[in-house]
C-alpha cells in the first residue's frame, strides 16, 4: 500500500496544516492505511494520507490480542484490513482511587450518588476488554519501537452482538474516503479578498471624485456637472467596458450607447451616495436634481459650527454633538451628521476646538 501515501509534492507547508479540517478531526481510516501513512519529515506525530495531514485517528475493530501492563493495556485491533496496537490507559483505577470514602456511603447517598457509582462501574466494565470484543478507539498515532500504535485518549467496548456497528463502519468508510480523504485539500480564498481585489465602479469613481474636488476646490456642484468632467467619465467608461455585462450583443449601437450612459449615470449616483455617507458632500435640498455642497469648502458652515460650540462652552463637559447638530440644522440648513462630524474633525485639526469626550466639544 505505498500508493496510498505517495504524492508528497502537493502537501501544504506545516504552518497551513491547521486549515485542513481533517488535521484536527479524528480521521476514520482503515487500519491498513494507518499503517501505511507517510510520516511528515518536519514534525513527529503528524502523518500524511495522500496530501491530507493526519495526527488523530478513530478505529473500530475486534480485539485479537491483549497484553496487560501495570498502567495500560495493549490491545491488538483488527478491522479486517489491518491490525494495530491500541495503548489504552487504565482509567477505571484512577477513577476508583480518586473516589473519596469508597463504598462507606453506599446506602446513605441519594439516587444521584448511586447513579454516578453505577455509571462509573459501567465505564470501568466497558474499559476492560477481552479477546473477541469490539473496541472503538480514538487517539494519536505514535511510533513505538519502530511500530505504529494508537495512543488512545478515548476507548470503550461496543456492545456489537449483531455486528451492526462494524457493518455500518464498513459502509461509512468508502463514503468518507471518497468525499474527504481522497480529495486534495484546497485552501478556500478569503471572502474579503474578492471584493478587495476588484473594487466596484462606484468605489473607483468615489476616489477619483474626491481627488478632483480637492484639486479644483469647487464649493458646490450638480450631478450633471460632475458627469461633464472628462477624466471622471473616461474612468467610468473604462470600468464599464471591463464588465462582462457591457458586451451585450443585443441592441443596436445607439441602444448600446444609451444603456451605457444610463449605467454611467447610475454609477455617478452611487458614488455621490457614498460621498454623502462619508460626509464629504451634502445636498442643499432633498430634490433629486439638487446642488451638492462640498463640506470642506463651506467656510460659512465651519464658522457657524465654531460659533455654536463657543456659545455652549460654559458647560462642564462641553457642547454635546447632538446639540451642535440640532443648532446647525435649525439655523443653517439640512446638514447630515457625517458632514458635521467632518466639519468638527477639520476644526479640531485646526485647533479651533477640542473634543472632551467622543461626543462633546469645547472651543479653544
Amino acid at each position: 500500500m505505498e500508493t496510498a501515501c505517495e504524492g508528497g509534492a502537493d502537501t501544504l507547508p506545516p504552518e497551513l496544516w491547521g486549515l485542513d479540517p481533517v488535521f484536527a478531526a479524528f480521521a476514520k481510516l482503515y487500519i491498513r492505511d494507518i499503517l501505511a501513512l507517510r510520516e511528515a519529515p518536519e514534525i513527529p506525530g503528524v502523518f500524511f494520507y495522500r496530501s491530507r495531514p493526519i495526527s488523530k485517528v478513530d478505529v473500530l475493530g475486534i480485539v485479537v490480542q491483549k497484553q496487560e501492563k501495570e498502567r495500560f493495556y495493549r490491545y491488538g485491533v483488527d478491522d479486517g484490513t489491518g491490525v494495530i496496537t491500541c495503548v489504552c490507559w487504565k482509567q477505571g483505577q484512577v477513577l476508583a482511587a480518586t473516589e473519596p470514602g469508597g463504598c462507606s456511603h453506599s446506602h446513605s447517598g441519594g439516587g444521584l450518588e448511586a447513579g454516578l457509582r453505577r455509571l462509573r462501574h459501567r465505564a470501568e466494565q466497558d474499559s476492560h476488554l477481552e479477546l473477541g470484543d469490539v473496541i472503538s478507539a480514538r487517539g494519536r498515532i505514535k511510533v513505538f519501537r519502530d511500530e505504529r500504535e494508537i495512543n488512545c485518549s478515548l476507548y470503550n467496548r461496543v456492545a456489537d452482538t449483531r455486528c451492526a456497528a462494524q457493518i455500518s463502519r464498513m459502509l461509512e468508510l468508502p463514503q468518507l474516503y471518497r468525499t474527504f480523504y481522497d480529495k486534495t485539500f484546497q485552501i478556500p480564498p478569503p471572502s474579503g479578498a474578492a471584493s478587495g481585489a476588484k473594487p466596484s465602479g462606484a468605489g473607483l469613481l468615489l476616489q477619483e471624485i474626491k481627488l478632483f474636488l480637492k484639486r479644483s476646490r469647487v464649493t458646490n456642484f450638480h450631478q450633471h456637472e460632475l458627469e461633464a468632467i472628462t477624466s471622471l467619465v473616461a474612468l467610468a467608461h473604462k470600468h464599464l467596458l471591463s464588465q462582462p455585462s457591457a458586451q451585450d450583443p443585443s441592441g443596436t449601437q445607439q441602444g448600446c450607447s444609451g444603456a451605457a450612459s444610463r449605467q454611467i449615470h447610475t454609477m455617478f449616483q452611487e458614488a455621490i451616495g457614498l460621498l454623502q455617507e462619508e460626509g464629504v458632500v451634502f445636498p442643499k435640498t432633498a430634490s433629486p436634481d439638487t446642488l451638492y455642497l462640498v463640506t470642506d469648502e463651506d467656510q460659512q458652515l465651519h464658522s457657524l459650527t465654531l460659533e455654536i460650540i463657543r456659545e455652549d462652552s460654559g458647560r462642564p463637559k462641553g457642547c454635546p454633538l447632538l446639540r451642535v447638530l440640532r443648532a446647525v440644522q435649525s439655523r443653517h440648513r439640512v446638514v447630515s451628521e457625517s458632514a458635521l462630524l467632518r466639519v468638527l474633525n477639520t476644526l479640531e485639526c485646526n485647533s479651533d476646538i477640542i473634543s472632551t469626550t467622543d461626543s462633546h466639544y469645547i472651543a479653544v
Binding site: 491490525v83 452482538t161 455486528c163 468508502p174 474516503y177 481522497d182
Partner: protein
C-alpha cells in the same frame, strides 16, 4: 508480534476458493454441529440454493457456548481447503456468537469495501503509469 488481519469473506467464497491455506480470514455461518470431543464445529450457509460447509477447529477458543442454529463469526487461519469430508477447515482464533446479524447488509458492506479498494488501486495504478 501482531497477528495478521482477518480479511472479511463470505462462507461460499471460502468454500469456492482453492489454494488459500494459511490465509487469515473471518467469516460468518450458522452452527450446525459441534463435537466437543474432537473440538470441531461445522458452520453452514445456503447461497443460491447450494449448501456450503466449513469445518472449524475450536481447540483455541474453548470453552464456548454452542447454540446450534445460531450465527457465529469465526476469525482464524485456513488449515486446508479440502479437509476430511471435502470441506475447508479453519483453525479458529476467535469465535463469536453474532445471532441476528443482517447477512444481506453484511454482504453489501463487504462488496462496498472491496469496490472502494479496487477503485483506489486501479486509480493509483494509473497514476504510477502516468509518472513512468
Amino acid at each position: 508480534m501482531l497477528p495478521r488481519p482477518g480479511d472479511f469473506q463470505l462462507l461460499w467464497e471460502v468454500c469456492s476458493s482453492a489454494g488459500t491455506e494459511g490465509k487469515t480470514i473471518r467469516t460468518v455461518g450458522r452452527l450446525s454441529s459441534y463435537h466437543a470431543r474432537i473440538s470441531e464445529a461445522i458452520l453452514i450457509m445456503h447461497h443460491n440454493s447450494t449448501l456450503y460447509q466449513l469445518a472449524v477447529y475450536t481447540a483455541l477458543v474453548e470453552p464456548f457456548e454452542a447454540h446450534l442454529g445460531s450465527d457465529y463469526m469465526v476469525l482464524g487461519e485456513i488449515e486446508a481447503t479440502e479437509g476430511v469430508c471435502n470441506i475447508p477447515v479453519i483453525q479458529a482464533r476467535l469465535l463469536m456468537c453474532v445471532d441476528g446479524i443482517n447477512l444481506p447488509l453484511l454482504e453489501r458492506a463487504i462488496q462496498e469495501q472491496r469496490k472502494y479498494f479496487q477503485e483506489r488501486d486501479g486509480r493509483s495504478d494509473l497514476e504510477t503509469e502516468e509518472v513512468k
